[in-house]
């Protein structure tokens, strides 16, 4: 049981690290924070707690994807659709 969870946690870390490459504040910043957060929880033993943390990690992944999309969409809108900005 704990072994498959270990695999899940490792995959989560790898996936988050991959997402971190596009982080606005830089990949190094993201990696440092990612490492700290995972290390902070390294002694958690309860499988339920671990599953909870994995779910939180997956939520962060979705939040990052949404952030990246919005950022890109807004930048493209600003640069290519000038009539939209004329209200200001």
């Amino acid at each position: 049981m704990a072994n498959s969870l270990r695999g899940e946690v490792l995959n989560l870390y790898k996936n988050l690290l991959h997402l971190g490459r596009d982080y606005p504040k830089g990949a190094e910043y993201f990696k440092r924070h990612l490492k700290n957060v995972f290390l902070k929880n390294k002694d958690v033993k309860d499988p339920e707690k671990i599953k909870e943390l994995i779910e939180r990690g997956e939520f962060v992944m979705k939040a990052l994807e949404a952030l990246y999309f919005l950022r890109k969409y807004r930048a493209m809108k600003q640069r290519y659709y000038s009539d939209v900005n004329k209200t200001n």
């Binding site: 995959n11 790898k14 996936n15 991959h18 997402l19 606005p24 999309f69 969409y73 493209m76 290519y80």
Partner: protein, 255 residues
């Protein structure tokens, strides 16, 4: 049910969030060591093709890119988003600067015929050169109908209904397939190519060919004369009264 095949062209450009720097010799912008990614409008094109496949309207999505070997990263992203296979039309780095919309359009036209596709999808323009020509030229060379600046694409049997973003509103066209479509911002929200999808996509094939294999001439009649920063905006001047304003405007010859 679906027998349609789609070709999606993707371009590797400097990432949209990077601050562009002009090279001191004014021959171009700095690209060495700079983060590159798929052109945002091309992402929208790939997403649309993959969605058509998920709706079982398109059988196969082929991603193609022209350029040096790094283009394969961009093709891999398209494969991770759901394209079935890739074609890399390799152009040596030294010649890559001369490959513009016309050259790419010649390649895409030949590939569309070779692969017998029914739909060619591209982004409306690349964020590096902002040409907005490749899709149109491809349609011209193939003598296919085109729906550019598409904000909605619906398949109706052997026809394609395309809603286009134009000045002052939306225009709806019905095109007979095969056709070329270029994608605009509001068409869809592209999915992010997550690591598991990238890993799965490693099994998908990327065929590497040269433009000469297609019988395409990559020569260009254009040369870049210089690339410069836009002029610096001069600071504004504050005035105290309307009389001062009028005097200042007269001074600079505006009135």
């Amino acid at each position: 049910m679906a027998e349609l095949r789609a070709l999606v062209a993707v371009k590797r450009v400097i990432d949209f969030a990077v601050k562009i720097r002009v090279k001191p010799d004014k021959t171009g912008v700095v690209t060495d060591g700079v983060k590159h990614s798929m052109n945002p409008f091309c992402e929208i094109a790939v997403e649309e093709a993959v969605r058509l496949k998920e709706k079982k309207l398109v059988k196969e999505v082929i991603a193609v890119s022209c350029g040096p070997v790094q283009c394969q990263e961009t093709i891999r992203t398209a494969l991770a988003m759901g394209a079935d296979r890739g074609i890399h039309v390799e152009v040596p780095a030294a010649e890559a600067d001369r490959v513009g919309p016309l050259q790419v359009a010649r390649v895409l036209a030949k590939l569309a015929e070779r692969e017998k596709v029914d739909l060619v999808l591209l982004g409306k323009q690349a964020i590096d050169d902002d040409c907005n020509q490749t899709g149109q030229m491809t349609a011209g060379l193939l003598d296919w109908p085109q729906g550019t600046f598409a904000s909605q694409v619906t398949l109706e049997g052997a026809k394609l209904k395309v809603e286009r973003e134009i000045d002052g509103g939306l225009e709806t066209l019905r095109l007979k397939l095969p056709a070329v479509v270029t994608t605009d911002l509001r068409l869809n929200e592209p999915r992010y190519a997550t690591l598991p999808n990238i890993m799965k996509a490693k099994k998908k094939k990327i065929e590497v060919i040269k433009a000469s294999d297609l019988g395409v001439d990559l020569s260009s009649k254009l040369t870049v004369v210089s690339v410069e920063d836009p002029p610096q905006r001069t600071a504004g001047v504050k005035v105290e009264t309307t009389e001062d304003l009028v005097a200042k405007l007269k001074e600079v010859g505006r009135i």
